[in-house]
Amino acid sequence: MKMPDPEQEILDKLPDLTGRLVRLLSKKAVITSEQGRKAFESDGLTAYRQSPMIVALPSSTEEVSEILKICNELNIKVVPRGAGTSLSGGALPLADGLTLGLSKLNKIIDIDYQNRSVVTQCGVTNLAISHAVEDQGFYYAPDPSSQIACTIGGNVAENSGGVHCLKYGLTTNNILGLKMVLMNGDIIELGGKHMQESGYDLIGLVTGSEGLLGVVTEATVRILPKANVVKAMLIGFDDIELAGECVARTIAAGIIPSGMEMMDNMAINAAEDYCQPGYPRDAEAILIAEFDGVESEVDYFTQRVSELAKELGATSISISKSEEERNGFWAGRKAAFPAVGRISPDYYCMDGSIPRKNLPIVLRRMNELSKKYGLRVANVFHAGDGNLHPLILYDANVPGELERAEEFGSDILRLCVEVGGALTGEHGIGVEKRDLMPTMFTKDDLNQQERIKCAFDPAHRLNPGKMFPELHRCSELGKMHIHGGKLLFPDIPRF
């Protein structure tokens, strides 16, 4: 993966930049030592590493604004970073860039039960929001598996999902307001505690923009009352396609579980070896479906899904009878990544999204690819909404295996797009899938997206090298060419 070449002009400005940052922040909040910078060299996509030129750790929106003003003036590239758990390399540093670490913006500012909302700084972790309101019976719904560590700022940037997004939506459906700083240092406030804004939906645009449009310093999130009753089901099948069919029939019956997950045989056994959740080892696939609400409704749904599963010949069906049992059902799913990490020296987590009905074709073709590349693949799957997480097993110490795993991964994503899906369901494009963007979008589509970038950051200083396979000058992107009374669409030169 090629990142933009370091610009010597920027590297030359490092002393000036360091001096100004130290004056603005304390010395401790500016990291220049080689060892100190190395701590930031990668995010959750550990195959890519690059030490940043410098790291700044602001503690307030105002400090973020001042830092960006300085960087804007000196033309320094900036990479925002929350907890660094991105799986697409979104927070990968640049050799000539400043990494803006946001972990010190870690305060919850306002909890407002009357308006069912929480105002929080961007560095607060996803789980900390739920913890802060659980006494009063509330929680923040989007629940990425990384929720202990990942920040709400990172969630907004990636539009993160989780197992309960099937019913409660992704990050974007749960954000009411944002405070953010633009690359020129302008501080803007979008939305608030009200539900709808006038003008363009900037909150919707910024959510999922991977730190390319601005630095989010505060978010106002929607909190929900916890359901009275929650029950999970664990259903085993001896054929993975039947498990897929069970999901399809559930949804077709008008039943939307709060979460519906699938694991294949390899993932089941990895989980059993790791933490013994009691999954049927011989099943080709298990489904974990969860329902929440009032008891009569939860019971009705679990009953209906039991019937559907039975009709399809499920080999085992259990409905949780206690919180302990329910958590047990989830334990293996939650530990799926580390569990797979134990059966292979390395694994590469993919994140394609497909129309559910195409699951059988995708699984079959993925099997063929697995043989072609000589690499095993375990599957965990947000089955209810068609979001696949194939985990490709490889050994980075074997020369060429990482490259093979990446090729395999790219083929899986191309396949997802081919069957009507998307390159990424929740992990983002980042650097990882940047060069695959043209499989999903035309040049015109991408130019239009880049023009949006230009409206926020005309010099491409914020997180360059992520999301867009090519960068164009904004002045060129904005031009129209008319010749002989006709509109021409010339090729736009790139940098």
Binding site: I188, Q196, S198, G293
Partner: protein
């Protein structure tokens, strides 16, 4: 006299826009036209109506998605979805009659263009939460698409959300994909008589904070406070009992399915509640905790609350004033007063909006000025 264009293909839409770019002439981009009075007044050369683009391109009930062209009538769409017991969960309103047009002429293009959402907004989100992908023609004359047809998709910027509620100022949407929901098995509403507005707001907030997934909370002064419950038939009794517990000894009546549906249609479409025609009608999105102040400050002749207190409709000759929140001038008086369509945004945000407009439509051809910038 303005020229009228009714393209029947996407290519024709593109041609029409390209021609206008070359001539530097502006276009009034619309679909059915039932919502055309929303927005700041425009001075345009021609009208580009997308209503002949009216095909359903793909409907996969088991995937809960539909791809359609903007001209599909809401009434037709509703019937189509009903065949599979599905619906658009954001309850698109039919504001046609409120704006002096016939009922039933509203299109999905109009709804997505203006991001209009019904009473479930506080529980289930609005139009913008159900749009998965768009395709359209920008003010560069080029076809662009964004998003896709799957629910989980973070590939590239969420341009679909940007297009939703852009009032045709960023591009002519030629195709969109929406997420669908199964229709609830059953519905029932409670009507509480004679609550003071302040008490009603308090009660609505309290109920919205309970885990009964109440899907409608509205207060119409002089008529009643309405609480809607939807879900499996088996669960309605349990939830009604719980909510009755919160309501206490107040006088309550139950509205069975049909009556309940009719009541919420009235709340959704507003016209049946008869807001006075001699005063401007405002729609205000505001935190429920702030709504009472706005009502007291303006002392409106007519008002009611939806979205669990987060939405205020009011008739008042004055421009609404409050700190945080948004408003829309939905209907002006017959001899229009000089009033703004939206609350004037912070200058930095206004500038950002202008830059985004320019990123899609550098010559300001598409619905120029409709959003006031």
């Amino acid at each position: 006299m303005t020229d009228l264009y009714f393209p029947t293909t996407e290519e024709q839409v593109s041609e029409c826009i390209c021609d206008h770019i070359v001539m530097e002439k502006s276009l009034d981009v619309r679909t059915g036209g039932s919502l055309i009075s929303l927005g700041s007044p425009m001075n345009v050369a021609s009208t580009l109506s997308l209503k002949e683009l009216n095909q359903v391109k793909l409907y996969e009930p088991e995937e809960l998605v539909i791809t359609l062209e903007p001209g599909v009538l809401l009434s037709d769409l509703k019937n189509l979805l009903m065949e599979h017991n599905q619906e658009l969960k954001f309850e698109p309103p039919d504001l046609g009659p409120l704006l002096g047009n016939d009922p039933g002429i509203g299109t999905i293009g109009g709804i997505i263009g203006t991001n209009l959402s019904g009473p479930k907004r506080f529980l289930a989100g609005g139009a913008r939460d159900y749009i998965l992908g768009v395709q359209g023609i920008s003010g560069f004359g080029q076809i662009f698409k964004a998003g896709g047809r799957v629910v989980k998709n973070v590939s590239g910027y969420d341009v679909s959300k940007l297009m939703c509620g852009s009032y045709g100022t960023l591009g002519a949407i030629t195709e969109m994909t929406l997420k669908l929901a199964p229709k609830a098995q059953d519905e029932i509403s409670l009507k509480i008589h004679d609550l003071e507005t302040e008490t009603a707001i308090f009660l609505m907030t309290e109920i919205a904070a309970c885990p009964y997934e109440v899907s409608g909370l509205a207060h119409i002064p002089g008529t009643g406070t309405f609480i809607r419950i939807e879900g499996t038939t088996a669960s309605l009794d349990e939830r009604i009992a719980a909510i009755r517990g919160l309501v206490g000894k107040r006088k309550v009546s139950e509205l069975k399915r049909e009556e309940s549906e009719d009541q919420w249609r009235q709340i959704r479409d507003v016209a049946p509640l008869n807001p006075p025609k001699n005063l401007p009608l405002w729609k205000i999105s505001i935190a429920a905790s702030d709504v009472l102040d706005v009502i007291n400050d303006h002392n409106p002749e007519f008002y009611f609350l939806d979205w669990a207190g987060g939405l205020l409709w009011m008739s008042s000759k004055d421009i609404p004033t409050f700190d945080k929140g948004a408003f829309w001038l939905i209907r002006n008086t017959e001899t229009p007063l000089d009033l703004p369509f939206n609350k004037s945004p912070d200058p930095l945000i206004r500038n950002l909006n202008k830059r985004i407009k320019k990123a899609f439509d550098p010559k300001n051809i598409l619905n120029p000025g409709r959003l006031g910038f």
